[in-house]
């Protein structure tokens, strides 16, 4: 299928003029995010994140495998994310578009290469048995900013997941099912969140946070920043687009630092609520 048709000229002009006056079509402020709505599934490690109409499901499951010989002391984490045409007509099965490649790589960098998860804690028996965690991300609907939504879903799913307790006595390994012993949470070093800012061709238009589909299509450049609540930057990605002054980029980083603190609060409170409502302890 050829490239999707770009927005029409009246739409383009309307959005540009509105943005110049800091008015967004959905009534948000320029630097206001859509509040994420987290829904947890019946299983632990299943979460659906909805940011406006953008929805992503993330699911974690784990099994024990033999580790590769070059890394006998670490667990394995694989991320599987394919955007199906269900998300939007822009995506085709089998052929990754530029956007999809960017999203897959960003998820990889934010969740795997940032060392958010302590891989050594996933080792059960050195060289013999380690946990292999599989994080699957399904993009249900793309109403702009699929990347932030997917990263959020991924990290919340990892925080929500509980792995069965394993007992190692000598050479014998016993996996206790959840009904016998309470499963344990994964040990995360830090919680990364991703924020995307969109820039527009007219330099007098201020940047906006969390673009919708139309705003993303009409943007002249995107700046994605992944960071945690401890003010550590994990990924900064600005590939081309409108050139920005260095001060502008540093200013946006300051804004991102503030927003992440809010996000962290929301996520923590929702997780606590959900875990409290479940019976994970032994009867």
């Amino acid at each position: 299928m050829p490239r999707p048709p770009s927005p029409s000229i009246p739409e383009k002009e309307f959005v540009y003029n509105a943005l110049k006056q800091s008015l967004r079509l959905d009534g948000r402020q320029a630097l206001e995010m859509r509040t994420p709505v987290l829904t947890f599934g019946p299983e632990l490690g299943w979460v659906e994140v909805a940011m406006g109409k953008t929805r992503v499901i993330a699911q974690v499951d784990g099994k024990m495998v033999k580790p590769p010989p070059e890394r006998p002391l670490e667990g394995i984490v694989t991320i599987h994310s394919e955007i199906s045409p269900m998300a939007s007509t822009d995506y085709e099965p089998g052929r990754p578009t530029d956007e999809e490649v960017t999203m897959t790589r960003m998820l990889d960098k934010v969740l795997r290469r940032s060392d958010a998860l302590d891989k050594e804690s996933l080792c059960v028996q050195a060289g013999q048995r380690v946990w292999h965690l599989r994080l699957t991300i399904h993009c249900l609907a793309d109403a702009g900013n699929l990347l932030d939504c997917a990263c959020l879903a991924g990290i919340v799913a990892l925080k929500h997941f509980r792995r069965p307790e394993v007992e190692v006595v000598g050479d014998e390994v016993t996996i206790h099912p959840p009904s016998e012993r309470a499963p344990l949470p994964l040990s995360l070093h830090h919680t990364p969140f991703c924020l995307t800012f969109a820039y527009f061709p007219d330099p007098s238009t201020p940047p906006i946070l969390d673009p919708t589909y139309l705003e993303q299509r009409l943007s002249a450049g995107l700046l994605s920043i992944a960071l945690n609540a401890q003010k550590e930057l994990i990924v900064v990605q600005k590939a081309g687009g409108v050139p920005l002054a260095p001060d502008e980029i540093l200013r946006i980083i300051e804004v991102a630092v503030m927003k992440v603190k809010e996000l962290d609060r929301i996520v923590e409170s929702r997780l606590k609520e959900d875990i409290a409502g479940r019976h994970i302890e032994v009867r």
Binding site: P2, R3, P96, D98, V101, T102, T104, R105, D108, K109, R113, S114, D115, A220, G221, L223, L227, K231, E232, L233, I234, V235, V236, Q237, K238, A239, G240, G241, V242, P243, L244, A245, P246, I249, L250, I253, E254, V257
Partner: protein, 269 residues
Amino acid sequence: MTSRIEILNDGGYRSDGRKQYELRDIVIDLTQKGTADGSATITHGLTEVLVEVFGPREAKVRSQTMHDRALINVEVNIMPFSTGERRKRGRGDKRILELGSTIKSTFEPVVQTSLYPRSEIDVFVHVLQQDGGLLQASINATTLALINAGIPLHDFVCAVTGGVHSTSPLLDLTTLEENDVPHVTVAVLPRTKKVTLVTMETRLHADRFEDIFRLACEAGDVIHKEMKRAVMERAKKLVTAMDMGSRLAPAGAGDGVEKDTMVDDSNDY
């Protein structure tokens, strides 16, 4: 496995003998290679990248062209012998695809694509040797190759890598340093001093980031000077060669540069 080599010793020297803010040796070769419209090889220390540019030319796949601009295609090819261990990388490797799409998005606003509607500019990046700073070298070589091909640009794009070792910023990292130290690649447009590319994939505190970010922006100017010098030298060589041609011809030897030589066609057939 990290080796026991110090990244920065007490005397302020790095593992390859450079000081903290010293860039590696830059060698630029703009001679024409094969049939490409423009080609450039840049070497940063031991990292060597060759870029060939074809275009603007008629697009191979008509349906992907744009009615008002040229299409830029970037293909990256990492040679199996480029690193210490020989390893063949598939074309579909996500890391290589990402490198290609990063270079493409970096140059899309810089190349004056609106001058060549419905055409295609093909950029082939060949990585011959890798020792850190791959994206940096690829972007610098692409800028030079585009200039060599005569494609109009708004500005040079100069890229440099930077890293922070505990609290000391370092510039232009080798593979050894990249594996050990959080690093960022920055590409600037020297005339406007604006930043067109920033990528960082390792964890770094926001305050440290500010230091290295500003430093890298300044370092872009140094690379710009080197690139400009190489382009001027090449242009001078070409002009001298053209001069020689007209000077050796029998007619119009006196004024040399101003007069065009007239070739007498009457006896050809």
